[in-house]
Symmetry: C2
């Protein structure tokens, strides 16, 4: 990352204020190079009964049995989308996959407070179910699905691995960027309350920590230098409990100069360190 | 890192066997591009009374007030050198600095079992003392010294920061690759015994952990995916105690595909991820 970009991201501060969120998105949209001319998109395929159970599929050429890279957006459980008209996000994640010769998939899911835990893991289950049955028609290999997510999206992917563990068997890998994994220790903010409910005593069963430690799916975690404190605490806890259990570190990537949003938003720009990191992992677990 | 290189490094296994150490060095020497044609070296300047108190200085052109990058080699406290005739290591670290327009310095230090803790911190102190007095004559800025070390070298740099804290004030940054930081929890192997003594009860005061947490010098830690378990445990402990104290993660870089030796040995090859990582940090703390 260039010192100028780092400086701007640092200046927003780590907290998830409207200025930080809007400012980062505007800045990163300007840096984005746009979708590759060869990338084809099929939008809004339904993978479940809800209006929000939709996915977009990105390919280049005519792939055959290619790895499938799925991205799950963030938004504090209560907002966000796979695609916003006029914005490069998060079609940039599908395009990234297509540029690498994989099948890219971006999904959206039911939101809180109307939908509560475990709606995230259940929607992931439905999306994987759909992909296992249909992705071959789009050139993808149902045996080589990699799930990725950012923030609430990472929490939903982690929730799927942890709470739908048998269904997740055979998933090739998971990329978890700046997620919250343990509801027993995370900050009880209004976003978490919208999804897990106001009574904190009910949060215990929603924790992903024990299930993540038990999962056999390879995981690449990352955390950003300018993530809020709570995400740093969660990352430290993953490192501590993983190493205590397995005597080896998890792959916990520390993203210097990045904030909570910028890693996924940097994909498709000339700041290629996150793209290299994720592509390296996907290549490894699907190779 | 390419999948082929990763595969070879993984095949050596994480343990510090002769095959792993020799095999990695031979493989990485072959990948090294050799010293840049414009790099000039002055070798074996004495910075202290012992035969091993020597340093080499690397520059390109005629730097003026440039950052100073110091590398301290590993070797289990009992062996190793800054330069071995016919080998690119560790002149590659000095050359790396010179290529970036900095003044590169590689040092060697007194070895165990003849010399015991705190000989490492004391030799670092003597080297810094010499640099503060003399590096300007070689184009370096004595106010912008970055210390780096690998394995026992990282432990010695950490020991200097932790146990000679006042002397280390004003050091611009430290790059600690695969070090052991807490003598109270590390494996009691024969290398550690040679340096800290056979009686483990005496090891407590040698721990760097508390002093590192108290130091104000910016630190970039790294640990390699194929480092032995003990180095993973130490890294997890740094993450845990640092985050518990400061509520933010340390910069702990996880080096995918690397083993205990390969990060420093990769510098000066076409595998540039470690070079980018270290150069980014040095640029940041001296910029």
């Amino acid at each position: 990352m260039t010192p100028a970009i780092r400086k701007k991201l640092e200046a927003f501060g780590p907290n998830l204020t409207p200025d930080m969120l809007g400012g980062t998105q505007a800045m990163m949209a300007e840096m984005n190079n746009g979708m590759h001319a060869d990338t084809k998109v099929v939008r809004d395929i339904s993978y479940g009964p809800d209006e929000r159970n939709r996915l977009d599929i990105f390919t280049q050429g005519s792939p055959q049995g290619a790895p499938v890279f799925v991205f799950v957006h963030g938004g504090g459980f209560v907002m966000g989308d796979k695609h916003t008209e006029g914005s490069p996000f998060y079609s940039n994640m599908g395009d990234f996959a297509a540029r690498h010769g994989w099948v890219g998939v971006t999904i959206t899911y039911r939101l809180a407070p109307d939908n509560r835990f475990p709606s995230g893991p259940d929607d992931l289950m439905a999306a994987v179910e759909w992909l296992r049955a249909n992705v071959a028609d789009h050139g993808g290999d149902p045996e080589r699905i990699v799930l990725s997510g950012q923030s609430a999206g990472a929490t939903h992917v982690a929730g799927y691995l942890a709470h739908r563990r048998e269904h997740a068997e055979g998933i090739a890998g998971a990329v978890l960027m700046s997620g919250i994994y343990d509801t027993m220790t995370c900050e009880p903010n209004q976003f978490a309350e919208a999804y897990y409910g106001k009574d904190r005593k009910g949060w215990g069963p929603a924790s992903c920590m024990a299930g993540l430690l038990a999962s056999e799916v390879p995981i690449q975690f990352s955390v950003a230098e300018f993530d809020p404190d709570d995400f740093h605490q969660q990352a430290a806890q993953v490192v501590e409990q993983w190493t205590a259990t397995k005597h080896r570190l998890p792959e916990m990537q520390y993203l210097s100069g990045h904030n909570h949003l910028s890693p996924a938003l940097s994909i498709g720009s000339d700041q290629r360190e996150v793209e290299r990191m994720v592509a390296g992992f996907v290549g490894r677990v699907t190779g």
